[in-house]
Every structure is written in C-alpha cells, then in structure tokens.
Amino acid sequence: MSESHSGDHAHPELGFIRKYIFSTDHKIIGIQYMITAMAMAVVGGLLSMLMRYQLAWPQGVSPLMAKIFPVAYNGGVMEPGFYISLVTMHGTIMVFFLFTAVLTGGFGNFLIPLQIGARDMAFPFLNALSYWVFLLSCIVIFAALFVSSGAPMGGWTAYAPLSAIPAAAPGQATGMTLWITAIALFSASGLMGGLNYITTILTLRTRGMSMMRLPLTQWSLLVTSILGLLAFPVLLGAGILLMFDRLGGTSFFVPAGIIMNQMPVDHSGGHPLLWQHLFWFFGHPEVYIVVLPAMGMASDILSTFCRKPIFSYRMMVYSMIAIAVLSFVVWGHHMFVSGMNPFLGSVFTLTTLLIAVPSAVKTFNWLGTVWGARIRFTPAALFALGFVSMFVSGGLSGIFLGTSAADIQLQDTYFVVAHFHLVMAIAPLFAAFGGLYFWFPKMFGRFMNPTLGKIHFWFTFIGAYCVFFPMHIIGVGGQMRRIYDPTQYMFLQQQQPVNVFISISAFVLGAAQLVFLFNFLFSIFAGKRALERNPWHATTLEWTAPSPPGHGNFPPELPTVYRWPFDFSMPGEREDYVPQTVPVTITARH
C-alpha cells in the first residue's frame, strides 16, 4: 500500500481496516490527526471549564461536583492539588496535542501533497507511523490524568526543581514521569512528520510548481517543520536530563542544599535556570510552530474569499522566514525576573521587539488584502477575518511583555495568560476552524452547514473576546497565574466580579463549540453534497482533484502549474479567479 500509482495499473481493493484505519494515505492520516486532536481539545476544554468554575466561585461548595469527582472535590470544594493538575494538563494538552497536532499534523498531512501536486508524501509508511506514535502519546498523557498519585503539577512549563523532585508536590511522581514520556513520544512523532513534510515539499512538487508559486499554507508548513526539527530535540534532551534527575539520582537541575519539609534532599550541584533556558529555547520556537501554519492558512483563505491576491506575497514569505529565524534568539523574554543576568534581559528585549516587526508586516499585508476586496462572508471567511483581529490583539499585548522593565509587574499574571491565549490559542483556533470549514468539502465531499457555521463564528468571536480581553485587566490588577483562589488576597478581591464574568463567558464559549462539533460530525455523513470540485472558486491545486480525492489524488495525470495561486479578480479574465493549472495566454498581461 505504500507505493502510490499513476493509475496505469490496478491495485487490489483494500479492506476497511487498511483503507481507513491503518492507512498510509496522507489524506486519511491527516483526518485521523484532526479527529484525535479534536478529542484532545474536548478534554483540554473541559479541564479549563473546571478551572474557570473554580476561579469564579473559589469558596463555593458544590455537592454536585462532589458526586461527579469525589476525589477532586472533597466535601464539595475543589482540592488545590486538583486545580494545579488542571492547569498543567490543560496547557500541555492544548499546546501539543491540540494545536501542534491539528495544524501541522492534520492540515499538513491533508494538504501538502494535494497543494503541491503530488500523489502522496515522500514516505507514506513513516507518515502513518507518525500518527500512531502521536496517538500513543495522547493515550499516555491522558493516562497521566488518572494515576493514583496524582496528575502532574508543574504547569506545562515543568520548572525544576518542582518537576525534578518527586516529593515536591503530589502528582510529581508517576504523573510527571508519564508527562515526560508523552512529550518524548510526541517529539518523535513530530520529527517523523517534519521529515516527511520537508522532503515532500522540496522534492515532490509537480511540474511548474516553483517555490514562489507555493500557497502560503505550504510555505508555513515548510518553515514550521524546519523549526520543529531544530527545537523539539532540545526539549527531548532537557526531558532526558529531567527524567534522570527524577529517577536516576542526578542533579542537573537541582542545586545542593535543598530542604523540603524541613528535611534535606539528597542532591548537589545542578542549576534550576538551566531547565528554563533549555525549555524556552524550545518553547519559544514552539509557539511559532503553532502560529505560523495558522498564518499561512488564514492568508490563503482570506485571499480566496476576498477574491483578491494576498497583499505582497513575497514579503509574506520573507517575514515568515524572519520570524522563524528570530524565534531562536528571543527565549529569554520568558525569564526576565528569573534571576538570569540582567544584561541578558536587555539583549532579549531588543530581539523580542525586533521579532514584532515581521509580524507587523504580515498584519499590514492582511489589511492590504482586505482593502478593495469583494468579501464573500462564508464561515471560513469570517474565521479568517477573526484570526486577523485576534492576532492583532494578542500581538500588541506582547509588546508590554517584551519590554523587560514593564514585564516585571506583569510576569506571571493574567496579562501573560491573556496574551498567549489570544495569540497562540484563539488566533490559531480561528485559523483551524476556517480551514475546517474551507477544506471540508474536499475532505469529505460534503459541505458543513453554513448557518450553524455562522452561529458558531459569532458566539466564538464574542465569547473569545469576553473571556480573554478582561484577563489583561485583572493581570494589570495583579492577579497571579495558577492560583487556586484569588480571593485569598485583599488586593484582588475587588476585581473578582471580572473573574465571574470571564467564567460565564467561558461556559458560553465552550457551549458554542458543541455547535461546531455537531455540525462537523453530522456533515461528514449527512451534509449537503459537494458536487463540484471547486465550490469556493479557489485557485490552488487541491481544488482540481475530486471531492474527496481518491488514492493518488490526481487521476490520471499530475497537474502542471503555470502561475501563482493568487490570480483573483485579474483584469481581462473572464472569471474572477484563474486556477494555477491554467496556462498564461498572451492577452492576460497585467
């Protein structure tokens, strides 16, 4: 099954298992990633609903919750340890198992061969393996929720020594070990995927598909894969050292002289800041691994529904590359108050504000794309437009945090939580939703219901802003991250009503996603059929294939590309779009 075919010779018909479960077809693998990531999203989302319930009513007693989660809600009140586990698992699941997985694993797998005009990935078997390792990593992290000694409590950032000494908190025993294992498996899966993506994009582009004719989605996936290649191994190395500190008696991250519960702990000589440096050297590129594919997809979707070329394609490519390169020299902005040499603080402020420049360039280009457009307001278009708004909001708050002196007051408060949710969670989520509504007909040969899609959009747009914008305010007011009960502090009590508002908005936001889930699952089986191959009148190669494309994608011959993917509203053309496969004629001279 691993060879692709050109339609010349027949293939034996595959059974259900080989066709839909253990498939090496990139389209099936992509959908598998998407559905698994969606399941993880539900888990991660539920965890956050519990967190918000606690933050809004920290001292409320709930007999109902005591019935559902007797261990976590002892006597009807949430255990503080359970809260910190929620925080840790929510962050871990969302960053890795939802966002990285759905954008890079899901859309990457589905779209790359289709958009570059190939029959499948360069290494289909390895591709399938990457999914199954990913699924295994999901199972391991899910298991960490249920171990008897407690789910991990280090935050998704797992700072040492809290994460290195099993006695430092309940849940830092088996739970933490499982956490490290899951992340290691995830890294392996990511590497296999990235290897495939880079090789495929470089070597399997069809005739005429030069690099500067690639859709921005493809550029973003290529750059992201290179980022992942360089960043994830460093995390893996740090994780190995951490595992040895925990189980092997070493002290890479644990200094001498630690006293826990008034008893000395047997360690000597390591440095806690080393963990932070290693983690964030990975961690900062990771956030761009999440957001770059979102930017690429949003750009292509925006262009399609604005019926206009993306503004300044060249600068979009260069700015993506600039962001990727710079992402390796900004990690210290997570560590301004960590005890790191203040001189480094100055350096990282400079580099961090520098990385804002290519992001600003992209924002201006999105605005330039919408200017003079003729927007078709489909759900996909709405989400692409929403992406721009969310990214602007989240990006601007980053400027406060990147300025080291201003960060002193804001570090580890909800101002940071607001920033990274808007820019790394909500904006990419909007891009992912846009992508799902957009490519659904190609994936399943049916449409998602547009009315439900619009309802989903309005509630999500309003809900997301209602949840995350006020967090800037309570962060300014000083509410710290990861605290189980803000009302313990008098200086925070007067802004507690804002927490209640945020939590109620979060419940609404969560409920709105049920509309999406229903729409998605229902439409796979009973959505309106997509009878034409190119319902959105888009220009990229996947829209020349059947919906859904069969094995081999483009029967009987691979397409030839003659132009870039942004010939919308070309003066002198009959249609307001010209697919990439249409040769350039003498009359089209603009």
Partner: protein
C-alpha cells in the same frame, strides 16, 4: 466599480462584524482609560518609572490597536461582495510596505530605549548605601524574614539547624544572632529609606511579588538574588508568590507594613525580637 476601485456592497455580516470590532475598541478604550480596575496603589519610588513605561507602551499599542482594528472593521463593512464586481487586483506597494516597516521598527526601537533606561535604573545602578537589609527566604509555603538587628550583622545560619520552629536554621548561639529578628510572613520597613532584599529559596522556585511596590523577583534555590526598592507610602500591603511552587502556592501570602518612621520601625523590631 468593475475593477474594484470603489466600495463593495455593505453586507449584514460585514456590518455585524465591524460593529463587534467597534464595541471591542470602545470597551478596551474604556477599560484602559477610565481604569475601573487598575494597578494596585503605587508605594515605591522606582515603581513610578515602571508605571510610566507601561503608560508609554499603552499609548503606542493603544493607537496601533485602534487604527488596525478600526481599519479592519471599516474594510470588512465596506468591501462586501456584490455578485458582479471584481476586487482590486492591486497587491504590491513596496513604498508603503517599506514605510510601514520602518515606522514600526523605529517606534519599537524607541520603546526599547525607553525600557532600557528604566531597566538599567533598576538593575545597573549602584546599591544604596544606607538601607534596611532583610534576608528573605521562600519555602513551601511561607516567607521568612530575617533582620540583622541593631548590630547590623546577620547571625550565622546552618541548614543542619533547621527545624519546624527555626526554619532558616539560625544559630542562636552565634553572638551576632542575639539581636536578629526572624519573622514569618510579616515584613516591616521604614518609609523613605531603601530596602535591600536578599532572596533565597529552600526548596523550589518561588517568586517574591510585592504588587504595590512593582517588585517581582524569582527566589531560586542555590542562588542568592538581591533586589531593592524605596517605599514611599505607609500602610499595610500584601506579599504574594508569583511562581508555581506546589500545592500551597495560592496561599503563600505575607504582609509588608511600611512604618512612618525609623523609630516606629525600630519599635516593631524590638517588639518582634522579644518573641
């Protein structure tokens, strides 16, 4: 216009989305200008500079926010499709691009320099000579404050002497420790005189957060880190931990009282020494 050079159709979706963006702009302007919830009351000297820096960044980002979101909303409202017209094919303007890029870079560079001045004034300036020196030890889940007392010398501490009642292991036999004051979760300092805090941690990373004083510094085991500030206002203020440190992170709270004068502070110190 057939070539997209004029406005498109004004659509319902466009208007609603633009209206929402407008509400977003108005709401954020309200919250950041009227400040119904805002920073905790300022009580330190250098905190003024941090707050001013925040305001500078706020003005810059606020203007950018209003302009960019406003433009987005305006375009969304104005450029809906109308079935027959083309959009504008225009997709490059190197001059405008260069102008915007350079302007952004210049503005950000100015912010870097402004921020640098404040950062340098905090971290690269000389330690004040005459200051109240306090050793602060964070542990799971309390803050312990160790004062040197009248002799100005800190008594010897030894980890082997740590017990539940002596959690920094102060060697009471040491002559220099006779006048030392050790208090848990209660910190005092006189107003108007610099306070130098020497931060340590016994177990995991904590973060010494004084919201009213714009002080935040991680306490890292194995490291001794010093921060200093000058209190400008009397009163009682809360101390919080700002780095996840375990189960009791949320209640790792203390109180800092700024006394009106050195005498008032000395009185408190003498009272505390008796205990």
């Amino acid at each position: 216009m057939a070539d997209g050079s004029g406005p498109g159709r004004i659509t319902l979706s466009g208007i609603v989305l633009a209206a929402l963006i407008l509400i977003l702009i108005v709401a954020s302007l309200y919250f950041f200008i009227a400040q119904p919830y805002w920073f905790p009351t300022l009580a330190s000297e250098h905190g003024r500079r941090i707050d001013s820096l925040f305001m500078a960044v706020l003005i810059v980002t606020g203007i950018a926010f209003v302009l960019v979101q406003g433009a987005l909303g305006f375009f969304i409202a104005r450029y809906g499709e109308n079935g027959s017209e083309r959009a504008s094919y225009w997709h490059d303007n190197p001059k405008a691009e260069a102008f915007l890029l350079i302007t952004t870079a210049v503005i950000l560079t100015v912010l870097v320099f402004m921020g640098q001045r404040v950062w340098a004034s905090i971290y690269f300036s000389d330690q004040p000579a005459d200051a109240t020196i306090i050793q602060v030890t964070g542990e799971q889940f309390s803050w312990t404050f160790h004062y040197p007392g009248a002799d100005g010398q800190f008594g010897r501490t030894d980890t082997k002497l740590i017990t539940n009642t002596n959690n920094i292991g102060l060697d009471r036999e040491d002559p220099q420790a006779k006048d030392d004051v050790v208090s848990q979760n209660v910190m005092h300092a006189p107003a108007g005189k610099p306070v130098r805090v020497r931060l340590r941690s016994k177990d995991v990373i904590h973060s010494f957060f004084l919201p009213n004083f714009r002080i935040k510094q991680d306490a890292v085991p194995g490291m001794g880190i010093e921060v200093w500030f000058t209190p400008t206002r009397t009163g009682q203020y809360e101390i919080a931990c700002a780095e996840l440190c375990g189960l009791g992170h949320y209640r790792m709270k203390g109180f800092l009282t700024i006394d009106e004068s050195q005498d008032a502070f000395n009185k408190w110190l003498a009272e505390a020494a008796k205990q």
